[in-house]
């Protein structure tokens, strides 16, 4: 049996349900579970907001000294730090789960993941890179950002339940107890940067280059989208004239089916923005520009991606149908007020004599 799971707080349950619905439709043999970084007893959800999927609360999976972990981490760090602990929990409590697949909640799966299931019979881990090819410019995100934050996107990982994968998960857990922070200067970016080690420490890791996996704002430059006659989404690595003009592509050369799309950083309240984390592309096309409408890059055709707009509109529709508006206001019980470092000038003043001695000692 393959166990697919996601991790989120109550305010993201619309996303988790949308993912679950897509898996139910495309991969009905998967057992789908929501790992909840929140407490249902506190939220007391009305019946229509209780998802039709099993939920496991994070304080129930036996994370050692979980309270201290909550203390150390902010909500992003905590949500990512618990990932390998959930995987380990499934290994231990669902021995019939021969494969475990993690998806970020903001993903839609579009096709049966036959090749992935096949890969997991041969490999211990399956990872997807942010981008399979060089980025075309220095807009955000580019190759240099990935060097700091991780080559692979950890919105997805497929694991077999074998010795290698368990070794990897145990090592990953150990790292994330204290070092699931964002501190780029110290080589840390939550759970993700650590996974760079996976193919270095283990032989049996597949880096899957299929462009249908984990399509997202970080790889739009190598993936252009269109729908075939059957309404299935397909990806080409070149922008072609026929897709540009809006008609269906005539050639299927290098076309691949879209397997899952990751709507990272998309906000349904801002339907004109691809993601809050990127600066490379906007949706607008020339028609919009001519009509004098606003939007990112209306004046720059090469940075407009009208081809992905229908995917995002579809996602927005599904989120709204899954009660996104109702879920949003629920505050996560683990959220803490952000740490504000006040008195910056006093701190600087206090440091000055020490910094002077340091530079004296470091001079030749």
């Amino acid at each position: 049996m393959t166990l697919a799971f996601t991790i989120c707080s109550i305010n993201y349950l619309a996303q988790a349900r949308t993912l679950g619905d897509s898996l139910r439709q495309t991969n009905p043999a998967y057992q789908y579970v929501i790992g909840l970084v929140d407490k249902l007893s506190t939220a007391n959800l009305p019946a229509e907001l209780v998802p039709d999927y099993p939920m496991i609360e994070v304080d129930q999976i036996g994370i050692p000294d979980f309270a201290a972990m909550c203390d150390r981490y902010d909500i992003t760090e905590l949500n990512t730090a618990v990932k390998p602990f959930f995987i380990d929990y499934f290994y231990k409590t669902s021995p019939d789960a021969t494969e475990v697949i993690y998806f970020d909640p903001d993903i839609i799966v579009f096709q049966p993941l036959t090749a992935l299931n096949e890969a997991l019979t041969n490999y211990s881990l399956v990872l997807t890179p942010h981008t399979c090819s060089p980025t075309p410019d220095w807009e955000r995100p580019n190759e240099q950002h990935h060097l700091n934050t991780g080559i692979f996107n950890l919105g997805f990982i497929g694991l077999r339940n074998d010795i290698t994968a368990r070794q990897f998960v145990n090592w990953w857990k150990d790292r994330l107890v204290y070092e699931c922070r964002i501190d780029l200067c110290a080589g840390l970016f939550v759970d993700q940067q650590w996974v760079n080690f996976a193919p270095v420490y283990h032989d049996n890791v597949l880096i899957d280059h299929h462009v249908g996996y984990n399509a997202a704002y970080w790889n739009l430059h190598e993936r252009y989208f269109s729908q075939n006659d059957a309404g299935e989404w397909i990806i080409k690595n070149q922008k072609t004239l026929d897709t540009d003009s809006g008609s269906r592509p005539t050639s299927t050369e290098s076309a691949q089916p879209l397997l899952f799309f990751h709507f990272s950083g998309y906000n349904p309240d801002r339907p004109d923005e691809i993601s809050k984390y990127q600066t490379r592309y906007g949706f607008a096309n020339q028609d919009v520009a001519k009509a004098g409408k606003s939007g990112r890059y209306v004046d720059r055709p090469e940075q407009q991606r009208p081809d992905v707009r229908p995917l995002f509109d579809l996602y927005r529709e599904r989120l709204l149908a899954n009660y996104n508006e109702q879920y949003r206001p629920y505050p996560c019980v683990y959220i803490k007020p952000p740490v504000v470092r006040r008195y910056q000038r006093v701190r600087k003043l206090l440091k000055t004599p020490f910094n002077r001695v340091i530079s004296l000692l470091e001079s030749r």
Partner: protein
């Protein structure tokens, strides 16, 4: 063929590397060695005749380009900023060579290169990781240095040894790498930069037929001694490590072993060379190989390019004091007021 890149000061090591390559490559293959000189040949010792062809960087870059790059980089950064360009150009100048190894001048070939050529028969590019398993004890807090976070800063694959097979894919790789590295070879961890090396993290993903060689015999060095043991078998060395046992050792990197101030790990505290007779024996042999070129007297020749000062390596009380002072300033940064 073998390519290395050095400054004039590093010539003895580059020449000893070339000698060791000629001995190890043997097997009837013509062993050609080319030295890329990231320095100004005007400063070469009078009457010096190199046993191996020298390609000075001045042949590849205009004076204007040299001045610009020199003004923004340290000598170390400058040499690595030119590495892909050197490799690309030397590969072009020697069309009869289909396989090219790049090795840092600190490397010595100590055994037959057959395993390297065999791997290159099917792979386009070979990379060697710094470490191949977690350096501490599982489940325990590891207080030694370098830790895994630091490897994330510098990159997980060493840029001191690279192997390429001539192909369109290799050309594509070298062109991309040159484009990225020329102007982004700074050491700036916060910005995701570390010489030519951190960029290699993309290579197994962006390019076809890249093989990461985890074999414990390959690229034995200061940073991986804790996970490997070496022993002599006849005239050759074999190694045991996390990814294999009894593997022949084709080459060893003496960076940080010969000169503890050189390389990424001047403050490493995982290995004491006095406790590693295997490494000590190899180091003694290496010193002998270098002594052949002692008479060149180049140690004091400052590199011509790279005007920014190299970071200072502190030892003894200075190092301890700076470490304590930094923990105080960190406290001031983080304390809740």
């Amino acid at each position: 063929m073998l390519v290395t890149i050095c400054t004039i000061r590093q010539l003895p090591q580059a020449l000893a590397l070339g000698d060791s390559f000629c001995q190890s490559a043997a097997n009837g293959t013509s062993a050609s060695v080319v030295i890329g000189l990231a320095d100004d040949p005007v400063h070469l010792p009078a009457g010096f005749v190199s046993p191996y062809p020298l390609v000075p960087i001045g042949e590849l870059l205009s004076t204007e380009q040299l001045t610009t790059l020199s003004s923004v980089y340290t000598p170390t950064e400058f040499a690595t900023a030119c590495k892909p360009l050197f490799i690309k150009e030397i590969f072009r100048r020697y069309p009869q060579s289909d396989r090219l190894l790049y090795a840092d001048p600190n490397i010595q070939f100590v055994g037959p290169l057959t395993p390297v050529w065999e791997r290159l028969a099917t792979a386009n590019t070979l990379l060697t990781p710094f470490i191949t398993r977690h350096p501490g004890q599982a489940g325990a807090i590891d207080t030694q240095w370098p830790d895994e976070k630091f490897f994330q800063n510098v990159g997980l694959y060493s840029a001191d040894f690279l192997a390429f097979r001539r192909s369109a894919e290799t050309d594509r790789l070298l062109t991309w790498w040159d484009d990225r590295v020329r102007e982004r070879a700074y050491i700036d961890f916060c910005a995701g930069l570390c010489l030519d090396q951190l960029w290699l993290m993309h290579v197994p993903v962006f390019f076809l037929d890249v093989v990461v060689v985890r074999n414990p015999g390959w690229h034995v060095a200061l940073w991986n001694l804790p996970e490997r043991t070496l022993r002599q078998q006849g005239t050759n060395w074999v190694a045991d490590g996390p990814a294999g046992q009894n593997q022949p050792v084709p080459f060893v990197n003496f960076k940080g072993l010969l000169n503890p101030d050189e390389g990424f790990f001047p403050y490493q505290n995982r290995v004491r060379i006095s406790e590693r007779p295997d490494a000590a024996t190899l180091l003694t042999t290496y010193r002998q190989a270098l002594s052949r070129y002692k008479s060149l007297l180049v140690e004091l020749i400052e590199p011509a390019y790279g005007q920014k000062p190299e970071p200072v390596v502190l030892r003894g009380w200075r190092h301890t004091t700076v470490k304590s002072l930094r923990s105080i300033t960190r406290f001031f940064d983080q304390v809740k007021l």
